[in-house]
Subunit: 138 residues, 4 copies
Amino acid sequence: MFRLKQSFTIMFSDCDPAKIMFYPRYFQWFDRASQQIFNEVGLPWNETWAQYDMGGFPLVDASASFKAPARMDETVQMETWIDEWRGRTFVVKHVVSRDGEILVEGQEIRVWAVHDASRPAGIRAAEIPEEIKAKFEV
Amino acid sequence: MFRLKQSFTIMFSDCDPAKIMFYPRYFQWFDRASQQIFNEVGLPWNETWAQYDMGGFPLVDASASFKAPARMDETVQMETWIDEWRGRTFVVKHVVSRDGEILVEGQEIRVWAVHDASRPAGIRAAEIPEEIKAKFEV
Amino acid sequence: MFRLKQSFTIMFSDCDPAKIMFYPRYFQWFDRASQQIFNEVGLPWNETWAQYDMGGFPLVDASASFKAPARMDETVQMETWIDEWRGRTFVVKHVVSRDGEILVEGQEIRVWAVHDASRPAGIRAAEIPEEIKAKFEV
Amino acid sequence: MFRLKQSFTIMFSDCDPAKIMFYPRYFQWFDRASQQIFNEVGLPWNETWAQYDMGGFPLVDASASFKAPARMDETVQMETWIDEWRGRTFVVKHVVSRDGEILVEGQEIRVWAVHDASRPAGIRAAEIPEEIKAKFEV
């Protein structure tokens, strides 16, 4: 499975008055990384959504477990990958670490949502096409 | 247990290009609400941290389950309360709903963290004082 | 001219590691307040944009002058109004104060932008209708 | 004068419901870039503030002029430099462009603020040391 590895320096603007990374910021990182893995395997969100008549990859669930704080000027690493395909949903894992020590373990469960004008939300979950899954096999 | 009930109008700035509330924003709401419940029972964070020589209420875990999206101009309600005291941690629940329909169920697990210069992080978890818990009994 | 007066408590999540309101947050407040004044006079953005075939109120210019910092737990007031109609643009002013002391003076210049498929951006500036201006006269 | 050149891909999370970069995001970029230029010349904020007994680089003024929008998946360039030293303040310029077309011109005026317990804000503006200015000469 394709894995995205990134490195970040914790900036002033990432931190809260306790001088550690403000926790909702991690979820912003997760959202970006979930977009980036699709970019990296040649499936930009906008193009993919247009091609499959989709309303995006809405979240069903998001969670994070915080082991240790990250502080300004520290460099941290983040690894992101699709951990599981579950029919109409998929699980994205994000692990933030600092020199091998895990700081945060995050997970997003996202839906493959296609347009359906007959539904109140205008979308419905659909089976994830095999050719999409194949793109992440490396 | 004290419960905070709030009402929000979803604004342009809350929404993403899919025109629904951007999911990390919910965690920003959760963080604010977790501060507000302490304010409401007479325990402002700054004063409480100073009084008990604390480094704050760092997160151990945060999660949200998304049932339905919220759109711009919709009015939603959020209810927040401490659901459980667990010795050195406590669980804050947040439920966002729209006219009785639950949109998001969120949970934060936070630590009662006191200063301890002998630890690498400068803090350690400590037992939550009884008089603090008592403040939330109503 | 209609004026919106709001009051805010500065929260942990508003503040940066210097323990004052993180300055880009003020621009988020400005954006929300610029939407709220339209809501308050009966011109919600979504409805107005649909009615006039618009692409929104994009910014031409935004600025803020910072006189004094706001700190966590302080209560501040913000006043917002349209200060000037300039044909195809309009000027929104925002003044944040604390007990009469001005902390921040902000200004946004926004365009009345209608759809125009012949333009690269898909929109063009148009004259602001008189009936819109009239709504803000109170 | 040292110039920082960066490149960004506009992400889903950068954009608002109008599907363009949400304008307050630019000010977040500016803040980060203003920190990065100090990092790049060997003056990390935390170390510099400790060395000179400072309360940071608070803003006096921030402004941006928006020429054209940036959309999701576009790659943009940003150039950042200190444009002027003004005794106790300095001017940071930020120019965002796309393939040579300027999208946004931004400016921050920041103070060299040292601790001064006799002042209400706990800080006062001081002359910027010559050795600091010299670091940016390249």
